[in-house]
Symmetry: C2
């Protein structure tokens, strides 16, 4: 029986097959994400992976349904696996924001699901580091979030040689749009053209822009000027004060496709441009109000970073460690009459935190030792009597005999 | 907009509402689960939360469909959210078992879903610690797994006063069944009667047993004898050698409802009998073969421990810590001309691992200090010039002035 196409099996390393994913690497990534969020004072939350379909159509319109894992449950409810986390976050914040001091600084690591037309190797689920800051309009909040994004990538060993944050703002584009006498009803379409600029033939863009009364030359001039607005200038100065200025550049080609962004937007890219975006985010000051049906109005911003592109880049840069069983001690049982005290030793060592392996059933001494080496155990320990244990450091090959109760002290 | 009935929102503590769950407590539980598994040499794996429906009906029959979140996806596949982990595990093991030395010792922490008729407060999802040992027939494997179960509960501070492992065996019941001349075709039904013994009126059990040619008196005598089989005796001795004998008792009333158990079965219960079972498991030596369509035949055993009953017991015993933001340092910015060096200090402290909070926007000194206290920060730090930082220990109230670059050393 096979798993569904587009879904992943996560195995312990070494991986059995190119078609499988590393559960160890996944946990390595999650741990780093959690650690950086904690340093920035962000708290973890989570919601259900299954939500009312309406939660997602309210935010994104009916057209999103074509990309969802949606169905009717046995209680006749229209439901969907979550394709993104922000609607759930907005729902949860709207329900209980009074309990929390502002700004609310929260993160989550949800698994997200999209039923897209199957392409070779294209995944239908991924995990995403979602970080959001709610209740603060000041651009200091944008800078804080971008700093966290930079430090997240640095936590994996990536440097300014590896990635860049492309910073932009819908407010800047809005000013440009107004200065060129764009009509209000065309603004969203204009943003969509800008969003697709880099992957659309020049002639097509020119034609679409001219329909709205714009010239590609003007657009390109605005992009090339790269002149930061006052708001973006504040963010750049804030990041520079932290020593993070070198990781960010103004790039007005970034505008983000989603309809709900309202101000600053940004994306993290690998410096060589070989991969899809590593992360992206921005302000969505109207979404909490929309999701709460007007009851709660809070400014907000956030970003999402998926596990798949991040993994690709870490692999390409040689920054993904190899993982093993992390066995501290392999207990050798060569004399079966000493199995009972050996089990006691195993229990004692595990009780103080060591990862301990041993052969569950009688096995030849050389087979046990070979297994200890395969597992890359740091030590072997062999009960020699009810009172003594022979300890061997498998790296240095040093051997000592310790008192039974004193064994743990010789394994540090 | 509301979340779906039977699903949970996980919020940071302090919790806003009795109807919400603690994301912090969830992570606390997951961390302990992972830590104990690691000490026992178990490796983490995971599979998709959505699987082909057939994977679950193959194991449990068509009647399970009534309890599933199943639907037809856009590719016309019959799929289901996973109601349990074991079929996925068996599928994954069968696909790649040759890559792994036996015994395979794996664990997972999946979220599981059941669409059961809605009862007040009844959940439709939960998280489960799944620990499995595959490829070993010897009862030493059963003992190893039960030891892990005991140490998992002890890792939360639970003691022999709080819980007991009720150990039983379908082999023992099989011997009883055969000794009383039970007919082979009635054995599964007989097991079901035993499974429901504790929650069925005596008269009803008597009647059902007599149809199969058994007397309740004989059954009760067998249960009361509590005489361990040779296999169970081995497990008891193995656990006794580890000093864990006191946590286990033979209890033949435990037989586990699921059809696929083949040998030793066990459950963890709170000692006072106030809660549902904390964990349950046993041998399922035929399942890998069944799921692999006969291609792979490996003995296996495992247990599952859900997060919900565990949480209830930890709360009842006062063993669940209160969680907060875990802020190490709150940086006070009282002089806005010093915001830039303050941001530098914040960055430096976070870079070496401290969790640092501050006011994103100008705020009165007493408001900032109050916030530091609310967050239970260990220290405040205030940049007094480009060169000096005033550090205050909020517990001892000690104050010192440190050199800017030396600040971190005073926060340990």
């Amino acid at each position: 029986m096979e798993r569904l196409p587009g879904f992943r099996d996560f195995y312990p390393e070494p991986l059995p097959h190119a078609d499988t994913w590393s559960a160890d690497a996944r946990q390595f990534i999650f741990d780093k994400w959690r650690n950086v969020a904690r340093r920035y004072g962000f708290r973890e939350y989570d919601g259900p992976p299954l939500e009312p379909l309406e939660l997602f159509t309210t935010k994104s319109g009916e057209e999103i349904v074509g990309q969802l894992y949606n169905f009717t449950d046995k209680g006749a409810r229209a439901v969907s696996l979550r394709p993104e986390m922000t609607p759930t976050l907005a729902r949860m914040v709207a329900a209980h924001e009074r309990n929390y001091k502002k700004p609310i600084k929260w993160f989550a690591i949800p698994q997200l699901f999209r039923y897209e037309r199957q392409q070779k190797g294209r995944l239908r689920e991924h995990f995403q580091f979602n970080v959001d800051l709610i209740g603060e309009t000041d651009s200091a909040a944008d800078a804080e979030l971008i700093a966290l994004l930079i430090d997240t990538l640095r936590a994996f060993g990536l440097t300014g040689q590896d990635f860049v944050i492309r910073l932009s703002s819908r407010n800047a584009w809005h000013e440009f749009f107004v200065s060129k006498h764009g009509k209000h009803e065309n603004e969203y379409e204009f943003f969509q053209i800008i969003d697709k600029l880099e992957r659309t033939p020049k002639e097509e863009t020119e034609k679409k822009l001219s329909v709205l009364g714009f010239s590609l030359a003007d657009v390109n001039q605005f992009i090339e000027s790269g002149q930061p607005t006052a708001e973006l200038e504040n963010i750049l100065q804030n990041l520079a004060a932290r020593g993070l200025g070198g990781f960010v550049k103004i790039d007005y080609r970034v505008i983000r496709g989603l309809a709900y962004y309202t101000g600053v937007v940004f994306e993290a890219f690998d410096a060589k441009g070989e991969f899809r975006a590593i992360a992206g985010g921005g302000r969505y000051d109207n979404l909490v109000k929309l999701i709460s049906g007007g009851k709660v109005n809070l400014p907000a911003l956030g970003f999402g970073m998926g596990d798949v592109v991040l993994l690709e880049i870490l692999k390409a840069r040689g920054l993904l460690p190899k993982f093993d069983a992390n066995v501290d001690v392999f207990v050798l049982i060569e004399d079966e009459t000493l199995r009972a005290p050996s089990l006691k030793l195993i229990q004692d060592l595990r009780a103080v935190g060591f990862a301990v392996e041993y052969s569950l059933t009688p096995a030849k001494p050389d087979k046990q030792f070979k297994r200890a080496q395969e597992l890359k155990a740091a030590f072997t320990a062999k009960v020699e009597s009810e009172s003594y244990v022979r300890i061997r450091n498998l790296k240095s090959r040093d051997e000592i005999v310790a008192g039974f109760a004193d064994t743990a002290n010789h394994l540090r």
